[in-house]
C-alpha cells in the first residue's frame, strides 16, 4: 500500500510536467496553478509514503516491466528511502504553495513558462525515482533524468552568458560524477553477479575492491553533493536558477546525493573500515570550514546561500564520518548516534535552506535585486517575509531552541564519545575536528548576522529596496510552513528521533535505546549523566521571561518617544553611511587572509582645487575561489592540450585517412589468423 502511494507521488510529478505544457495553449488560472497543485499532491503523497515506511519500518520491493527486456526495473521502499522521500515531499509541498505566485514573474519573459513547469515536474519525478530504485540500471536512468532536467532549469534564463556557462559547468560535473558512480556500481556488480542491489548486498568484496568501490562512490556522490574541492558547480548553478528551483536543488537534490552515498556505503558495500570514516571526516571538515569562509565573503545573496549549502553538506559528512569511524572500530551504538546526527541535519538543512532560498526569491520578486549592497530596511517594507527569513537565519546559525542547534549538538555529542576509542591518534584527531566544527558554527552565525543585518535592517540603500511591498499570500504560506517546521523540529527532537531511528535499525541493526529513554522532554544521547538537553523547557523559559519582563516593565511606563539616531554632531545620516556587507566581513577577511584570492583596488579622485580634497573614492573588491585557479583551470588546460594533440590525427589529407583504414585492415587480418 505504501508503495502504491509512492508510485502516486511519482505519477503526480510526471502529470504536473505534462499539464505544465498547457500554458502554451491558454493562460488562465487553471493552467497556471494545476501543475503546482499536482506537484503539491506529489509532495503530500511522498511525505505519506515516506512517513509510513519510517514508522512501520517497512521493506517493500517490486519489479516493474519497465526498462530493458532482460533487465526490468526493481523498485524498493524501505526506511532509508522513506526518510529521504519524506524530506523531498516536504519541500515539494512548500514549493507548490510558493510557486504559482512566484512564476508570474516569468510570464512576460522570452522563454515559455511551460518549459519551466515541464522540467520542474520531471526533476521532481527523477529525484523520487532515484530514491525508489533497487537496481543500478533504474538508479542511473533516474539519476540522469534528475541531472538533465535540472540542467534545463538552471539554464532557463539562457540569454545571459554567465547563466549558460554555469549550466555547462553543472552538466559537465554532474556527468563526471555520474561516471564515477557508474564505475562504482560496476565494481559492486562484478562481485555480485548482476546489477540488482540485492545481489550487491549479498556479495562479499575483497577489502581492496571494497575500498575502490567506496572511493568511486564517495567521489561521485560527493561531487553531486558539493564537497570541496569538487564543489565549483554549486555556487555557479544555484544562484542562476529560479528561486524555487534553487530551493529544491539546495534543499533536496544535494540530499539525494547523500542518500546515494549512504545507500552504497552502509547498505551495498557493508563492512565499513574506519579509514574510510577518517577520510570522510577530513573531507567533511574541510568542506565545512572552507564553505563558511567563502559564504562570509559573498555579497550576492543566492551565491552566499549556495556556499552555505557547501558548508552544511560538510557538516553532514562530518556526522557520517564520525559514524563510520565508530562502526569501523566496533562501537555500533556510537555509530548510530553519528548517523542520527547526520540524518537530522539532512532534514534540518532541507527545511531551513529551502526557507532561506524562498525568502531570497521573495526579495528578488519585489526588488529585482540579488546584491546585498543594494538592499536594506526591508523589515519595514516586507514585515512577514522578514520575520520568516529571521527564523531561517536563526535556525541555520545553530541557535537554541530552533532545529539547527539540535543536529549540531548531536554531532558534538557523537564526537565527544572519542575516549571510548582505542587508537590514541584518533582520540587526538576527533576533538580537533569538533573544534573546527565549533569555528564553522560561529562563522556561520556571523555570516547570517551579515545577511539579515544588511538586507533587512538599517536603511534602504537603493530606490527599489525603499519601495518594496510584501509578497503575495501563496509565497508567504510556503515559507511559513517551513518556518513552523523549523521550530517544531527544534522543540520536539525526541519525537523526531523516535521516527528516524528506523533507519539505523535497518542499516546497522541497532537502535539507540538511550536517546529518548527519559521521555519526550529530555534528549539524552548516551545517558542522562553524560549529557541532556530539554528543548521544550528552553523554549518555555525564554517565552516566560519575555512575557514577565514585558508585563513588569511596561506597566506605568510612558509611551515610547522617537527621535533621530546618534550622529556625533555631523548632521543627517544617509544610507551610505551604514556598514556594507563587505565592510562587515572585513575583519574576518583580514584574519583568515590566505584562504581566498583577494583582489582589492582603491581609486581616489581628487578635486581640482584644493588638490587635497577628495571628491570620490572607488573601491573594487574581487574574491575568487582558489580551487578554481589551482584545480579546475589546470585540469581544463590539460584536457585542451590533450585534445589538441589528439586533434593532430585529423590532418585533413585523404591519403592519411586511407592509411588509417589500410593499417586497421592489416591488423585485423593478422589477429584473425
Amino acid at each position: 500500500m505504501a508503495l502504491s502511494i509512492a508510485y502516486l507521488a511519482v505519477i503526480a510529478a510526471l502529470a504536473s510536467a505534462v499539464f505544465a505544457l498547457g500554458t502554451n495553449f491558454r493562460r488562465n488560472v487553471i493552467t497556471r496553478t494545476l501543475p503546482f497543485l499536482l506537484l503539491g499532491a506529489s509532495g503530500v503523497a511522498a511525505v505519506a509514503a515516506g512517513g509510513w515506511a519510517l514508522l512501520d519500518n517497512l521493506k517493500l520491493t517490486q519489479q516493474l516491466a519497465l526498462g530493458l527486456p532482460w533487465m526490468h526495473w526493481h523498485l524498493r521502499l524501505d526506511a532509508l528511502s522513506g526518510f529521504f522521500f519524506a524530506v523531498v515531499g516536504l519541500l515539494l509541498t512548500a514549493v507548490s504553495f510558493y510557486g504559482p505566485a512566484y512564476v508570474r514573474e516569468f510570464e512576460s519573459s522570452k522563454q515559455p513558462l511551460s518549459v519551466l513547469g515541464l522540467f520542474t515536474g520531471l526533476f521532481a519525478a527523477g529525484m523520487l525515482l532515484v530514491l525508489l530504485a533497487d537496481d543500478a540500471f533504474a538508479f542511473m536512468v533516474a539519476w540522469e533524468l534528475m541531472s538533465v532536467s535540472s540542467y534545463f532549469l538552471v539554464t532557463y534564463q539562457h540569454q545571459n552568458a554567465p547563466n549558460r556557462r554555469a549550466g555547462f559547468l553543472y552538466l559537465l560535473m554532474a556527468h563526471v560524477g555520474a561516471l564515477a558512480i557508474l564505475l562504482g556500481f560496476g565494481v559492486l556488480a562484478g562481485f555480485g553477479g548482476n546489477f540488482t542491489f540485492d545481489a550487491m548486498r549479498a556479495a562479499t568484496l575483497a577489502p581492496l575492491w571494497a575500498s575502490i568501490a567506496f572511493a568511486l562512490a564517495f567521489f561521485g556522490f560527493g561531487m553531486k553533493a558539493g564537497l570541496v574541492p569538487v564543489h565549483a558547480w554549486l555556487p555557479e548553478a544555484h544562484p542562476v536558477a529560479p528561486s524555487h528551483i534553487s530551493a529544491l536543488m539546495s534543499g533536496v537534490m544535494l540530499k539525494v546525493a547523500i542518500y546515494g552515498f549512504i545507500r552504497v556505503t552502509y547498505d551495498l558495500v557493508g563492512h565499513i573500515q574506519w579509514q574510510w570514516g577518517l577520510a570522510v571526516l577530513v573531507v567533511g571538515t574541510t568542506s565545512a570550514l572552507l564553505g563558511v569562509l567563502y559564504t562570509l565573503m559573498q555579497s550576492d545573496l543566492k551565491r552566499l546561500l549556495a556556499y552555505s549549502s557547501v558548508e552544511n553538506i560538510g557538516i553532514i559528512f562530518m556526522g557520517l564520518g564520525l559514524s563510520m569511524i565508530f562502526l569501523g572500530t566496533n562501537h555500533p551504538v556510537l555509530g548510530v548516534i553519528g548517523l542520527i546526527a547526520a540524518l537530522y541535519h539532512v532534514l534540518n538543512h532541507a527545511v531551513f535552506k529551502g526557507l532561506l532560498f524562498l525568502g531570497a526569491g521573495a526579495v528578488l520578486y519585489r526588488t529585482h535585486e540579488r546584491d546585498l549592497e543594494h538592499m536594506g530596511g526591508l523589515i519595514h517594507r516586507m514585515p512577514v517575509t522578514a520575520a520568516l527569513f529571521l527564523v531561517g537565519c536563526v535556525s541555520i546559525s545553530a541557535l537554541p531552541p530552533f532545529n539547527g542547534f539540535v543536529s549540531e549538538w548531536l554531532t558534538f555529542q557523537a564526537a565527544l564519545q572519542t575516549p571510548k576509542l582505542e587508537s590514541g591518534v584518533l582520540r587526538a584527531i576527533l576533538p580537533i575536528a569538533a573544534a573546527l566544527l565549533a569555528l564553522t558554527g560561529a562563522l556561520a552565525a556571523a555570516a547570517f548576522v551579515k545577511v539579515y543585518g544588511v538586507a533587512f535592517l538599517g536603511k534602504a540603500r537603493d530606490r527599489r529596496a525603499a519601495h518594496a511591498r510584501e509578497v503575495p499570500a501563496g509565497m508567504l504560506i510556503g515559507m511559513g510552513m517551513l518556518a513552523v517546521l523549523c521550530l517544531v523540529l527544534g522543540v520536539l527532537p525526541t519525537t523526531v528521533i523516535d521516527i528516524i531511528d528506523a533507519v539505523p535499525r535497518l542499516l546497522i541493526g541497532q537502535a539507540p535505546p538511550s536517546l529518548t529513554a527519559h521521555g519526550w522532554l529530555w534528549l539524552t544521547p548516551v545517558s542522562a549523566d553524560v549529557a541532556s538537553y530539554s528543548a521544550p523547557l528552553v523554549l518555555a523559559a525564554i517565552a516566560i521571561t519575555f512575557f514577565i519582563g514585558r508585563l513588569l516593565l511596561r506597566r506605568n511606563a510612558n509611551p515610547v518617544r522617537r527621535s533621530a539616531p546618534w550622529d556625533c554632531g555631523f548632521g543627517p545620516l544617509n544610507a551610505r553611511m551604514q556598514y556594507t556587507a563587505a565592510a562587515f566581513a572585513q575583519p574576518i577577511r583580514r584574519v583568515f587572509g590566505g584562504v581566498w584570492k583577494v583582489q582589492e583596488q582603491v581609486e581616489v579622485t581628487r578635486a581640482s582645487a584644493p588638490a587635497t580634497l577628495v571628491s570620490g573614492v572607488r573601491h573594487q573588491l574581487h574574491i575568487s575561489d582558489w580551487s578554481w585557479l589551482k584545480l579546475y583551470e589546470p585540469i581544463g588546460r590539460l584536457v585542451l592540450t590533450g585534445a589538441r594533440h589528439i586533434g593532430h590525427l585529423h590532418s585533413g589529407h585523404i591519403r592519411t585517412y586511407l592509411m588509417y583504414s589500410f593499417a586497421t585492415l592489416l591488423l585485423l587480418l593478422w589477429i584473425v589468423t
Binding site: G424, V425, A428, I429, I432, G594
Partner: protein
C-alpha cells in the same frame, strides 16, 4: 591508568613534562630573540625539574647529578652566553615576523600527534613509570627541528639546535633513566664547545655577508663571488 592512583611526585612529573612541551610551542611562536632565549632557558630549567623528579620516583640517584648539570648548563650558562652574544652583535631586540603563525600552530599540533603515533609501540613495550612522556620527548625533538626549518635568523637556528638536544636528553631520561655518566658529561661538554664555536662563527659570517640571515648565506657560493 588512573591518574589519581599515582603519587604526587609522579603527577608533578607529568605536569613538568607538559610544561616542557609548552615551552617548545612558545619558542615556535615568538618573533623576538630575547623571549626566545628566555623560553629556551625555561625549557632547560623545567627539564632539570623533570630529571630530579624522575630520580625521586624511580630511585636512580645519579639522575640528581644530571639534573644539576642540566640546570647549570642549559638553564643558566648557555642562555647567558647566547644573550651576551646577541647583545654584542646588536641583534637582541630584532624582530623577525613569523610569516604564518596559524600554520606553525597546525604543523606543531600535527607533529605532536605524529610523535604520539610513532611512540605508541615503544610505550606498549616499556615498563618504566615514565613511559607516557616518551611521546612528549619525541615531540620536543621534532618541534626543535621545525623551529630550525622555519626561521632564517642564525640565533634562532642555534636555539632550535639546542632545543633538539634538550629533547634528546629528555628522551634518554624517560626511556632508559638516563645515559651512562661518562656519555652525559661528554655530550654536555660538546654542547658547550659548540656554543663557543657558534659565537666565533657568527662574527665571521656577519663580516662576510653583512647579515646573520641564513637565507643570504647563498651569497657565499662560487657563482655569487
Amino acid at each position: 591508568m588512573n591518574l589519581a592512583s599515582l603519587s604526587l611526585y609522579h603527577q608533578a612529573l607529568l605536569v613538568a613534562a607538559a610544561l616542557v612541551l609548552f615551552t617548545s610551542f612558545m619558542m615556535l611562536a615568538t618573533a623576538r630573540i630575547r623571549p626566545l632565549i628566555f623560553a629556551f632557558a625555561w625549557q632547560g630549567a623545567l627539564l632539570a625539574i623533570v630529571t630530579a623528579l624522575v630520580a625521586l620516583v624511580s630511585d636512580h640517584p645519579h639522575l640528581y647529578i644530571s639534573a644539576l648539570l642540566t640546570l647549570g648548563l642549559k638553564a643558566l650558562l648557555i642562555p647567558w652566553m647566547l644573550h651576551r652574544l646577541s647583545a654584542r652583535l646588536n641583534i637582541l631586540h630584532e624582530v623577525e615576523p613569523i610569516r604564518n603563525p596559524s600554520m606553525m600552530l597546525v604543523a606543531g599540533a600535527l607533529l605532536v600527534i605524529f610523535s604520539y603515533y610513532v611512540a605508541t609501540p615503544i610505550v606498549h613495550l616499556s615498563t618504566l613509570v615514565t613511559r607516557n612522556t616518551i611521546a612528549v620527548s619525541m615531540a620536543v625533538i621534532l618541534l626543535g627541528m621545525l623551529l630550525m626549518v622555519s626561521r632564517s635568523k642564525a640565533v634562532a637556528q642555534v636555539v632550535g639546535f639546542m632545543s633538539i638536544e634538550n629533547g634528546l636528553f629528555f628522551a634518554a631520561v624517560v626511556s632508559t633513566y638516563g645515559m651512562p655518566m661518562i656519555v652525559e658529561l661528554g655530550i654536555a661538554f660538546d654542547v658547550l664547545v659548540a656554543m663557543v664555536l657558534f659565537g666565533v662563527f657568527f662574527f665571521q659570517i656577519r663580516a662576510s655577508i653583512d647579515s646573520l640571515d641564513v637565507d643570504r648565506m647563498n651569497r657565499l657560493s662560487e657563482k655569487n663571488e
